[in-house]
Symmetry: C2
Subunit: 325 residues, 2 copies
């Protein structure tokens, strides 16, 4: 392993000169530059980022804490993060909380021990996961962003899709296709979030009417509980607030001989591969997950570099037409 010292000796200059030259801190004479460059090439110098980090008290590593890696929803976000960090020469640590047997506190401990430059938390829709952890980390003055989870600003940068707009877009589209009795189907969701969707629904149908809300309990049989509820209320269009559930619901409809979209239209929230693969292919609202990742990374980088950044970033969803509405 050749070090700065070796280069310095070989080039007949001091370590400081080489160090400064390499970090563009110092204009050296053409001649010294040549000698340094020659030494670097001859000896095959590889800078030691670890030593640099120790000295500078700062690494080039950013951590992403994510509920699940093997899930297209999250991995789209992660991929956006990876792309952006890579572009700026930052490395990406991934911690999958689901699989890791460590609890959150242990993970956070790891962050400090490793002098992580910043942490991106990717939250669940369904609860305020990580919120306490984020508070802790903020207390340590480590740059943080909280992505994917809607909540009022609480001192750390937030990024999430505009859920009201998403709901409005979806509902309006269903309505525009002649569906007048639209249900919102969702997995367990806190009231605060559900209210957002209901608000968007109202804006979408341009009337002051409440949608039928159907909750999917864990492990239910769609044909036993969801479908009958929809039929009973003579629903002609469903907006499913979870992509996978939309797929399963569409399957259950097919089994029950309900034609999509003629008997009932199905629109899903989220646009990963699975909406495309489903039969029929699902019309959906795209939440811009990749962009969410990209922006999260940008905000973390701004913080690390002590540049200004947005406290709250709201992503604008858009509609993707396929054949289920």
């Amino acid at each position: 392993m050749t070090t700065l010292k070796d280069i310095a000796k070989h080039a007949n200059v001091s370590v400081a000169t080489v160090s400064k030259y390499l970090s563009f801190d110092l204009a050296v004479k053409k001649e010294t530059e040549a000698r340094i460059q020659a030494a670097i090439k001859e000896l095959g110098y590889v800078p030691n980022v670890v030593a640099k980090a120790l000295k500078r008290k700062e690494t080039f590593n950013v951590a992403v804490i994510v509920p699940k890696i093997n899930n297209l929803y999250y991995s789209e976000i992660t991929s956006g993060i990876s792309q952006t960090l890579g572009k700026h020469q930052y490395n990406l640590f991934i911690y999958e909380v689901d699989q890791l047997h460590l609890d959150e506190d242990e993970i956070l401990q790891l962050m400090r021990e490793n002098m992580i430059a910043g942490i991106i938390f990717i939250g669940l829709f369904s609860d305020e996961s990580f919120k306490e952890s984020i508070r802790t980390v903020v207390g340590w003055e480590i740059p943080v962003v909280y992505a994917n989870r809607y909540m009022p600003f609480d001192g750390f940068p937030l990024l999430y899709p505009d859920l009201v707009q998403a709901s409005k877009l979806g509902t309006a589209y269903l309505a525009s296709k002649g569906n007048s009795r639209i249900a919102l189907v969702h997995k367990r969701l806190p009231d605060r979030l559900l209210d957002l969707f209901v608000e968007g629904y109202r804006q979408g149908i341009e009337e002051d009417r409440e949608p039928l809300l159907v909750a999917i309990e864990e492990g239910v049989d769609y044909s036993q509980s969801i479908i009958p509820a929809l039929v009973e209320h003579r629903i002609d269009g469903v907006f499913v607030l979870n992509e996978l559930s939309a797929v399963y619901l569409a399957k259950a409809m097919a089994q029950a001989n309900i034609r999509i979209p003629d008997d009932m239209a199905v629109l899903s929230l989220g646009n990963s591969l699975i909406s495309q693969i489903s039969t029929p292919e699902l019309t959906c609202v795209d939440l811009q997950n990749r962009e969410l990742g990209v922006r999260s990374a940008e905000i973390i980088l701004s913080q690390i570099r002590k540049q200004p950044f947005e406290a709250v970033t709201v992503l604008e969803p858009f509609l993707v037409e396929r054949s289920s509405v």
Copy 2:
């Protein structure tokens, strides 16, 4: 930031004592132990892994180099790796070559600069991606494994599924369900791999007969080119060597009013969520991707710890019955 030095001062012992005590190198007196523990608690000591790495010339970071993060096939492997590394207190760096604008050499350079403890390359089926990079890294004496890609042993540990067995399992299952004219449908694949699948096919049908091989070119319309070929040869069962292609093929069949499995059975290679979601749900051969990840991580750890490890690990696939065969 409190350091060993602070602890030492506060506990009235030397840095060396604290260091050794904390790394279980030294049996200290009950009394000194108490004082050290008290100091650690009072001052809130957090060990500095970066300093440790510099001193020990070795980090606890393992890198995974993967073609694509947001792909269930790869992310299942990655998740297995993450789980296993986490269990052993190693951190996981992820580099997505597709998205990163860096080329492979730059990524490798990063590995050295960061004193990565080991690298797991996840290869493509379709070509010997990364092979040259791996050679380079081996030259640097960094522990390496090559996962997912079949090839003869070449000096570094290999892990891959038993493709012959996978093909045999699938073919035999198709045959057992009364399908006698079975085609192998695949995306571009090197001959060496294709031979493996053909070999498995032979073992599966227990006859010395060649299967019909249908190649899917990039961007083709399944109903225009693949389906007619299958119909023309009066195929009654297809084994699709790529999960996503299987889904698209099933879709195309439905459009062409070919009933699955009655007119034609479809079996896919790979068992991610998408086989389950497809209509009909696809019977498939599971390649054990998560287990592949787990074992890859174990082998990297063995290398890092200079323990013995398997040079070649072959994963045994198994059949998952659903309704497309």
